[in-house]
């Protein structure tokens, strides 16, 4: 095949670029430890969340010295916990903590996103999304559903409060 010299140079440069991208992302995943959402959260029966050990009584739970688990049910059109403007608890965790979210849906597909952080996942009925983040500084974040879930989707929001450690009053029953 007849390939022009410039073409060959371009082809080579393109391949180098591609390999560079793959290497960067691989480093980001393995080296810097940006974890992906994957299949580790397991499955649930979306029709029997009330009997589930995690989702029967969703909320914040302390599991280690600075480690917390937050179990959240997304439903059209609120997060439980999270949607304080709908009368549910906000999600409240102390600063300097490692927090693992377990999120599932009781009805349709939702999104679970905390703008300003790495927290962004799809929430699929039958599946549990598991993701871990570090909250270092006290701050109040917004929480929102970023996948269309029905006529009131734009009102599906909530609050995540990262409070100073000395003001934190324990896990559940905040």
């Amino acid at each position: 095949m007849d390939i022009h010299t410039y073409e060959k140079a371009w082809l080579g440069a393109a391949l180098v670029l591609i390999v560079f991208f793959i290497a960067t992302v691989t480093y980001g995943t393995v080296g810097a430890g940006v974890e992906m959402i994957d299949d580790s959260g397991g499955t649930v029966d979306p029709n029997n969340l009330a009997d589930h050990e995690r989702f029967g009584d969703p909320g914040v739970e302390q599991v280690g010295e600075n480690e917390y688990e937050v179990n959240v049910i997304a439903s059209a059109f609120f997060f439980r916990p999270g949607s304080d403007q709908r009368g549910f608890d906000p999600i409240r965790v102390p600063a300097n903590s490692t927090v693992t979210f377990y999120v599932t849906s009781s009805d349709v597909i939702h999104g679970f996103s905390i703008p300003g952080t790495n927290v962004n996942t799809m929430v699929i009925p039958g599946e549990v999304a598991e993701l871990t983040v570090e909250f270092d500084e006290p701050e109040t974040y917004g929480l929102l559903c970023n996948e269309y879930c029905g006529f009131d989707h734009h009102n599906m929001e909530g609050t995540v409060e990262v409070v100073p450690e000395d003001q934190y009053d324990g896990g559940d029953g905040q």
Binding site: M1, P46, G126, D152
Partner: protein
């Protein structure tokens, strides 16, 4: 002087009909686009926020599926007949697939538009509605008419593909020793990956969603139907893009006054798309639970390699334009640019599309990185990205191309070149404003697919610019785009109403390095299809098996949610709806 209508009068009517169908979809879809821009920013809210999602469904289905694919079948029919210099075997058959597509599209559109009524009519015992967006993720459930319409539309395209293939087979029998002409090669390879990939969405619809919406099965596995959608959903973006590439490869060099740089390389590019466009779909599911990280990684590697054919295209297209400009007396390192036919809206529109497509390449690389994707997934950034790709690289190339094609299929000269030129410039400008602001808003976390991205408890904060400034740019851009669409439609209508006259010859660019320089194996479509199949099996069999193992083929008892629109008494209904579940 022979135009397409002189050579193929019957086919010209079909091509014209398909293009007009595309333009009707564009007209309605763009209207919703403007409404969306005004609604999201809160400038003017014509619709209720619940109806916003019905409008967005219409926008997606009409533009991303109807407009693009009707234009594609028109273009490929032209490309096959012109490059093989051969009629379609039977015009009745051809009108048959066109009619199938029209019927399917109308069914889906009727189901969507019924969602605007306060009391939609009932059909098959269910209220008509389909406010499920063009991705129709279960358990959101549309009326069966919607799924059926989409399936029929896709089947229409399959038959069209068969029609082009049998034209090609007949040509091959008469010309056993000739290389397949480039436009035909492009149409055929594109059709091959379309068959492979749209099988996924066809299975999602026919095996799972349609029976479920009809009550024949009572549950679906939402992750499975979603994965089957994206099996098709990434390849469909190349189904939009390949006709634009075809125009860049075979028309743009001619308009520049020169020849295509390399025919063999063009073939390599299309073969790469055939191989890689389907086994990449899971990159739309980087943020999905239930899919192992390893599968996501494999797909990311495939996706990155899919950059290659687009980078090669950038090279060939620019090199061909430069060659053309130098033929016209252009000199210097960059001064040749001035010799290009910038007053020709066909050329300028396509060149500007290419420019914005290059910009889209950058945001695409961000999207493709599986862990950088956290930052942008389901934000307005994504909407900014694909309005550069499908909304400009494809749509503007089609509009500019229409200024060449409508004269070809009517025998009537373009009504007004200046109008065409203003139109393509306005689209370019409008998209620069709208898409740039969308990208930036996305980085602040502003979500897509949301009627009111204004929240009670928090506000998006930006280091660069405020949400108000970004909103203003989105509205400015959207308005320019709407004006551009109107000028386009007027120019087309006036051209079609005009008198017959002098129009350009029906021909496409020659090549500097012809097919004789490429190995014959490039034309071996059976071989490439077989490899494409193997790659699909490698990329998808394990993830699909895992998904079925986790959730079952039909899922854990998942009912459809059809009440995606509020009952008439919104507040009371909302309470009842929430409490009732």
């Amino acid at each position: 002087m022979t135009s397409y209508i002189d050579q193929f009068p019957e086919e010209a009517r079909l091509v014209k009909a398909a293009m007009v169908s595309a333009f009707l979809a564009l007209a309605v879809g763009a209207t919703f686009g403007l409404l969306q821009v005004l609604h999201r920013t809160g400038m003017v809210r014509v619709l209720s926020s619940a109806d916003y999602y019905t409008a967005l469904t219409a926008h997606g289905v009409l533009l991303a599926l109807t407009f693009t694919i009707f234009f594609l079948v028109a273009l490929f029919t032209w490309g096959i007949t012109t490059s093989l210099d051969r009629n379609l075997p039977s015009m009745r058959f051809a009108w048959g697939w066109y009619g199938t597509m029209v019927v399917g599209a109308l069914m889906a559109v009727v189901a969507i538009f019924a969602g605007f009524l306060t009391e939609p009519p009932t059909l098959l015992g269910e209220e008509l509605s389909a406010s499920v967006l063009f991705t129709f993720y279960a358990p959101l459930q549309a009326h069966p008419l919607f799924y059926l319409g989409l399936a029929i539309f896709v089947i229409g395209t399959w038959i069209a593909g068969y029609d082009w293939f049998r034209t090609y087979w007949a040509w091959k029998r008469d010309n056993p020793d000739e290389r397949t002409p480039l436009p035909a090669f492009m149409a055929l390879t594109t059709m091959l990956f379309w068959w492979l990939s749209s099988a996924g969405v066809a299975i999602a619809i026919v095996v799972f969603l349609l029976p479920w919406s009809l009550g024949i099965v009572d549950s679906v596995n939402p992750l499975l139907t979603r994965t089957l959608f994206w099996f098709f959903g990434h390849a469909v973006v190349y189904f939009w893009l390949m006709p634009a590439y075809m125009l860049w490869y075979i028309l743009l060099p001619k308009l520049s006054g020169g020849k295509l740089f390399s025919d063999p390389l063009a073939r390599v590019v299309f073969v790469l798309f055939l191989l890689l466009s389907t086994p990449t779909g899971i990159h739309h599911q980087y943020m999905d639970p239930g899919i192992a990280e390893g599968f996501k990684f494999i797909v990311m590697v495939n996706t990155m390699f899919l950059l290659l054919p687009s980078l090669l295209t950038a090279f060939t297209v620019v090199a061909s334009m430069e060659h053309g400009a130098r033929q016209r007396g252009g000199t210097g390192k960059l001064r040749w640019l001035g010799k290009l036919p910038w007053r020709d809206p066909v050329f300028t529109g396509m060149a500007l599309s290419g420019l914005l497509f290059a910009a889209a390449g950058f945001s695409g690389m961000i999207n493709a990185g599986m862990n950088i994707n956290y930052l942008v997934h389901n934000t307005f950034w994504i909407v900014g990205h694909f309005h550069l790709t499908v909304g400009t690289a494809v749509a503007l190339t089609f509009m500019a191309g229409s200024y060449w094609f409508i004269p070809q299929v009517t025998g009537k000269p373009l009504w007004n070149r200046t109008a065409g030129l203003v139109q393509v410039l306005l689209w370019f400008l409008g998209m620069v404003f709208m898409s740039n602001a969308m990208h930036r808003a996305g980085l602040l976390g502003v979500p897509r697919r949301t009627a009111e991205p204004q929240y009670e408890n928090f506000a998006f904060e930006g280091a660069i610019g405020s949400v108000g400034e970004l909103d203003a740019q989105v509205v400015l851009g959207g308005t320019l785009l709407a004006i551009s669409t109107i000028i386009f439609l007027v120019t087309i209508v006036m051209t079609m109403l005009g008198d017959r006259g002098e129009v350009p010859d029906n021909s496409y660019a020659g090549t500097l390095s012809g097919p004789e320089h490429s190995p014959a194996i490039l034309d071996n479509l059976k071989l490439w299809t077989a490899i494409a199949l193997v790659l699909i099996v490698l990329a998808y069999s394990l993830p699909l098996a895992a998904i079925v193992q986790r959730g079952g083929l039909f899922g854990p008892g998942i009912d459809g949610i059809t009440r995606v629109l509020p009952p008439i008494d919104t507040i009371g209904g909302l309470v009842e709806w929430v409490v009732g579940r």
